[in-house]
Amino acid sequence: MSEFGHIDEYRELFENAPCGYLTTGPDGRITKVNATLTTWTGFGADKFIGRRLHQFLNMAGRIYYETHIAPLLRMQGFFNEFALDFETAAGERLPVIANASERRDAEGALLFTAVVVIKATDRRRYERQLVEARSELQKGLATERETAELREQFIAVLGHDLRNPLAAISAGARILQRSGALREHKDLRVLDMINTTVTRMSDLIDDVLDFARGRLGKGIVLNCDSTQPLEPVLEQVVDELRTASPDRIIETSFDIREPVNCDRARVGQLLSNLVGNALTHGAPDQPVRIGAKTEGDELKLWVANAGEPIPAAAMERLFEPFFRGDVRDSRQGLGLGLHIASQIAQAHGGRIDVTSTADETRFVFKMPLALAAS
């Protein structure tokens, strides 16, 4: 290949490179421009030569060039990866990324500045889309939060409104019971079932309200009192559950010897939810066993049932709201019972642990006897 051929090859590389080139002289005027850039911009080389780079930029580009690029070039001799917008002969915007570097002679006098321009239409569009997508996402999240809050307020209001008609049904059942008008065994059984159902529904409403309160940021409020005994409250809860499930056996062993600084109604609710869960998921022909004792500086309350062990996958999600295991019968609730039980445990500085084997599934609630001030 001849010397002449080499020069042609370099010229070809300069003119038709996949990027735009231009050089400016010491006075800042353009001295060379390649064919790629003249094609992109639609301005011939003769339009470039002798003019200044910023004359080919849009207004924002000119300001940016004057305030950032030119001073930095003078100070450090180069400037990499700056984003500019050219304005084409057709008046369109041509977004580019550019690098610039100066060449100086041995004495430090500026010979020329070389500028490489890479078309960045796609890249700049992606960047803009990313920014837009992020702000859309943030808007979406804010809307989602508002919707969630509205939904929980709705649940709270609904819960309250459901209580009134439920109280009326319960009052109606009491009136019938008192009247003595119902004498047939079947009629009395129906009355019992109405009462049981009212209790169940009222528990569900309590759960929903507690959940909504928790989500609305008020959390579970405790009304602790260590001067009153806990055991009668637990007995009462068990009595109610025995009445509600007369064909199930519930065995208890309570041995609470120390005062427990707790919200007794809440611990009663926790027990009720754990026993409700055991009755729903335990083997129906096996007893549900309940125990409570004070041990060291802890209260330990447990509920155990026989039956299929809890699958490992379900184990991790047991205490999540609205989690429901396999539906065995119509006693199935909203899936809030265990979630609220765990919230009550946490509010008391305690926790609920679960073990589940082929022999037994056992929930154990532990809390400190003296609740640390929080």
Partner: protein, 123 residues
């Protein structure tokens, strides 16, 4: 109808609740007159001079809710005692006329009876 004991006006818009409470209170030896709203209660109070206690729900439709009724009764008939109940609001000392009693819903029959006995001095 023999005069039983102190006379109680029970104001409650939910008829089953009203009937249930009325029976419970009657059973405990009081005479009970039922009103479904504040207007009915005021008509009864205008007509009878032997009312001891007004037992009223707070949330009620109509021209007056239970709190307004309580203040109206206190101004018009100062000796009449007031018991108010609600499942939604907790009435504080400032909301009700002095000497009134607030019972949160759901209340038990025994609680109502005990409160009425205390206010009327009936045994």
């Amino acid at each position: 109808m023999p005069h039983l004991g102190p006379v109680i006006v029970i104001v409650e818009d939910e008829s089953l609740l009203r009937l249930d409470s009325a029976e419970t209170i009657e059973h405990a030896g009081f005479e009970v007159i039922q009103a479904a709203n504040a207007d009915e209660a005021i008509a009864i109070l205008n007509a009878r001079l032997d009312i001891h206690v007004v037992f009223t729900d707070i949330q009620m439709p109509g021209s007056m809710d239970g709190l307004k009724l309580a203040h109206f009764v206190r101004n018009r008939w100062p000796p009449i005692k007031i018991v108010a109940t609600s499942g939604q609001v907790v009435a504080g000392a400032d909301d009700l006329p002095a000497g009134s009693v607030f019972l949160p819903k759901p209340y038990r029959g025994a609680e109502v009876v005990a409160t009425l006995r205390e206010l009327t001095g009936a045994s």
